[in-house]
Amino acid sequence: MATATRLQNHPFGIRSVALGEIAREVAAGEPPPLGINEKLAVIGKPIPRIDARAKVTGAAKFTVDVKLPGMLHARLLRSPHPHARIAAIDIGAAARHPGVRAVELITRPIGRAMEASDENTHADPAGRHVLYVGDAIAAVAATTPEAAQAALALIAVDYQPLPFVTDIEDARRPDASPVFRGPVHGESFAGGIPTAGPLPQQGNVRGPGTAGSRGDVAQGFAQAEVIVEGEFRTQVQTHCCLEPHAVVADWRPDGLTVYMSTQYTAGVRNELAEAFGLPRNRVRVIVDAMGGGFGSKSGAGNYVRAAVALSRRAGAPVRLVLDREEEHLDTGNRPATVQRLRIAARHDGTLTALSVETYGTAGVGLGAGVGNIAQAMYDCENFAIMQSDVFVNAGPGSPMRAPGNVPGAFGLEQAIDDLADKLGLDPVTLRDRIDSSPVRREERRIGATRIGWSRRANLEQYKILGSRETPAIEVYLLENYQGMSSTDAYGIAEPSNIATAPAIANAVYNAIGVRLRQLPMTPAHVLEALGRVPSRSVSR
């Protein structure tokens, strides 16, 4: 592939505010840039979704609908212990169970922080540590799902249970039982913290990562006329895709075909080619319709590798569909965070310093951070960020719909709201002063007009939004040309969920005068914040 680059000029700005052109280096093979939408025949014009009819009529084929001749059914054996050493494992009885065609051990699980000692050991599963309830240990393929399930019970595992910790505060204590035996490394699965390069690790706390910091925060605070600070907490969320993680792996002498509910066919192909020593052109990954992924279906993961290994051993296609419990335990999650923010400003709103210190937990994964929203959203020369991962004995986090930025916005936007309050400024006015993005300014203008910004609504009957409570949504598309690719297309679904929680929290504050610093904003938490919950309680 050619690697030479050339400069291209793209229009830049939004529809109402053209800012001229932006020059961008593009790869030699990339086509010339498209014009702005108004000059195009199809892009930017309303057309029916290509799969809409198939999905509403049930004609769409999902991975769970794939059925191949001779297909076997697989189930995974998972750890019932939050932390244990596997002293011995015996698959003999399971392999002999009627209907069972293959048993595979998962000796080197992926998708988590790795210890140095993990690199070469554990070809033998005995000695492997399971790190959370639901950690996959073995896989069975049989002619029926019932036979596979029954065979799991026949796998004899001798667990030596070890001390465990599942709470982020407990895990931070110096005397907390360690999740890992030594320093770890790996990719930032959950997003948010750049984990490249070595970071300090003390007990279960790894970090802080300070990438993205700029200027001199101490000096910024010294210049402050007003300072606000606050601690905010966000909780673990699971993706809970309507279609569970599912795969049908078909290993044949001439190559591997994988039907999989995935967001990233090319990535899965590359991963499996490497893992099984196949050339990439001998691996096909097929996904027709997918019932939700939200970031949790990016990679092959342990379950797909297990299905492929079972198919190779059995010489037959293998179907593995996780159940709802497995979806919650071991297919990723949005990590929990504890964030401490400090903001310094002048009386006119100008920010002089912003500091963010976070502790997050992606279970046994890495990257439980708060994204780059605080770094990028508002003009502020002096910015400091200190993000740490806290390990607990729980399934690893994974990217979820604007990784890091959803929890990040929950803290940042409430702190900015606090600042507006303290400065005696309208929250929209303050944001217009400190946010130089013409797009967001325009969004605020349209939003304030459409919702009647100054109107006070009744929040008493406000409920957590379900399908019935969600009001009709008006959508305004602001074309924002940035010259980021030849089509200049990028996703617009995620931004809409970044601002939701802090916007509601700010509305609750506006209505009742008390801040909700953690999610979810249930009646219980609202009453507690109002001091209406009596303290008397019994337990036994």
Partner: protein, 343 residues
């Protein structure tokens, strides 16, 4: 889910001949292994399917009552009694003109239950007999006292949705919202068995407290079939109200609900009152002190407020659910004022 036989009886006699057991008996086991003996009755199947998919109930034989003729009707009987067949769906009940006119609390309670899809399938009989939604009870990893284990995990665990009253050994709340209204309305259930013995039991007496029998929520006996619900006529002019508070407005269980039935005389004095709290205790909780605060009084804001406070008499919240107290206090006050016609 396990394999099972499926039979569809065409008469009530055939149904009760199936040697059925109750779901409570089938699920209770010292060894954490549900019993496979005895047939299990299935009406709408909503709760049953949940329990079977979770591996909490593994019947060998399901007896489908859904198509049993004659049990899907709402009928006016003599002396003003309304008979509701056990197979009447929640959607049917919510839309029935007689129920809406005379027993508004019931219509409103079922209209808010679950989701539209579930209300089309769920029957009122199954709704009253459904098992608790306590997450420890529903977890096959927790062998709780109600399933034959040694302890209730809720007391030291996550109990924000659990009972604030009468949690003697088990902190479940009764899962039926319809039951809150039906107890306040003085309803009875009709039960029959293979010998065609008919029992008519006041719903309030049908439910069982944990200290009486910790493995079951009601007095349904093996072999027995709940066939209908009887609603007595209310005094002329009496009004009933049901209010609930949830975390969501739809497809969610209430964190608190209240049914109030008031009979107000022409002199504006309250002659009788029934106040029942749901999602409060292991069975629908009769707030007798609140009722006493109304009877003989002319109801105004002050009286209603006092009754709201009185409704909390005997409350003993757990570590995470004291927030329910102000919610119940407010719901009771509002429901009283609404039933009084002054709100």
């Amino acid at each position: 889910m396990n394999r099972f036989a499926w039979t569809t009886p065409h008469t009530m006699e055939d149904a009760v001949a199936a040697e059925s057991t109750t779901v409570a008996d089938a699920m209770f086991s010292r060894s954490a292994r549900p019993s496979q003996d005895g047939a299990i009755f299935k009406a709408g199947g909503i709760d049953l399917l949940d329990l079977m998919k979770e591996g909490l109930l593994m019947p060998r034989h399901l007896v489908n009552l859904r198509t049993l003729p004659g049990f899907d009707r709402i009928r006016q009987e003599s002396r003003g009694v309304l008979r509701v067949g056990a197979n009447v769906t929640l959607a049917q009940l919510a839309a029935d003109p007689l129920v809406r006119e005379r027993y508004r609390a019931l219509a409103d309670a079922v209209a808010q239950s679950a989701s539209p899809q579930i209300r089309q399938v769920a029957t009122i009989g199954g709704n009253l007999l459904q098992r608790p939604r306590c997450w420890y009870f529903r977890s096959r990893h927790h062998h709780c006292v109600r399933k034959g284990g040694d302890s209730c995990f809720a007391f030291a665990g996550e109990n924000q949705h659990h009972a604030i009253f009468d949690h003697n050994g088990c902190a479940m709340v009764h899962p039926s919202t319809a039951a809150t209204a039906l107890v306040a309305l003085g309803a009875s259930v009709v039960l029959t068995d293979v010998k065609a013995t008919r029992r008519i039991v006041r719903l309030e007496d049908f439910f069982v407290r944990p200290e009486t029998d910790i493995q079951r929520e009601n007095d349904l006996r093996p072999g027995e079939l709940l066939t209908s619900i009887l609603l007595p006529p209310l005094a002329p002019g009496a009004r009933s109200v049901h209010l609930h508070q949830g975390e969501k407005d739809s497809f969610d269980w209430p964190i608190a609900d209240v049914a109030v039935v008031l009979d107000i005389g022409t002199d504006r004095v309250c002659r009788s009152a029934a106040i029942v709290l749901g999602a409060a205790a292991p069975m629908p909780h009769r707030a007798r002190a609140a009722e006493a605060a109304l009877i003989g009084n002319s109801i105004d804001e002050k009286v209603a407020r006092a009754a709201g406070r009185a409704a909390l008499t005997g409350a003993a919240p757990l570590t995470q659910n004291a927030y329910k107290l102000p919610i119940f206090e407010t719901l009771v006050r509002r429901a009283i004022l609404a039933a009084n016609g002054s709100a």
